[in-house]
Symmetry: C2
Subunit: 137 residues, 2 copies
DNA sequence: TTAAACCCTACTAGTTTTATAGAATTAATT
DNA sequence: AATTAATTCTATAAAACTAGTAGGGTTTAA
């Protein structure tokens, strides 16, 4: 399941994607439009900025805007930024790989094989969902 | 990500699937073979029993055994039993549906549409992984 | 009757999640 | 230069969840 943070991040990105190009959105504006607690959204937007998904302008009349194209921001990206691995266990993860402490021989782990299959399929599905594809529907 | 409980449940089921038919496995036996804390495993096996995946025999020389066929226990089943919904948000879930409190018109929620697609694809993938398919590989 | 197993409920320590608070920094306007 | 309005940063806190422990109770075979 997605965390609230990931859900809010996606809603915020959807809001930004729906604005005119060159429009800059204030945090409070996004917060109200998408029903997100303002101070919580601040942190989320900062994380999105550090992830290079959005850009910001500081000071008066500042705000946020999409940095990447709507087509290049996928559900997989945002999931990884806020909720981490797509895989169901760290040992089956590409980006968040970690060995199981209790695992004697990873290459012979019955569970891992299946989880790698699942990861490949869900990753593909999640990479198919972009901010653009969501806005379009 | 899977919780430890789900991971342990799968490992326990894999162990049971590898035993001879008619063999009955004690908790302590499974716990040692699969490196699972015994008292924790007790709870997990009880949950699996309540979910009708395993059966038990009480008293001396009792233990656990697979109730369903290896082919009929899927990753989706076990995920749902211990970790709940397959979907990424409750509003996109089949078995754990819940409305978003902040959602005005669900049918027009941009996010939900994409999440339903994802759920359909991951569910299909997770239903394709069975205890039998894991043991076989 | 005893031993060995499952069954059941409660509890706890630690972690994670979901925020909130408040001050610092930046930039445009007056 | 002062003011205002915005982002940026760090710390804190309450609630929920996770992973595991504890301690019995119940059942069955010998």
């Amino acid at each position: 399941m997605l965390s609230q943070k990931t859900k809010y991040a996606l809603k915020a990105l959807l809001y930004l994607a729906e604005q005119d190009v060159n429009h800059i959105s204030k945090t409070v504006e996004i917060a109200e439009a998408a029903s997100i607690p303002k101070k919580f959204l601040e942190q989320i937007l900062l994380d999105l900025k550090r992830g290079h998904f959005v850009g910001s302008k500081q000071g008066k009349f500042g705000g946020y805007y999409l940095l990447k194209s709507k087509n290049d921001i996928t559900l997989a990206d945002i999931h990884r930024l806020f909720d981490g691995a797509i895989a169901l266990l760290p040992c089956a993860s590409l980006n968040f790989y970690e060995r199981c402490s209790d695992c004697v021989d990873e290459s012979e782990c019955l569970l891992r094989h299946g989880l790698i299959t699942i990861r490949e399929e869900t990753l593909k599905a999640m990479q198919g969902i972009t901010i653009a594809s969501l806005v379009k529907k």
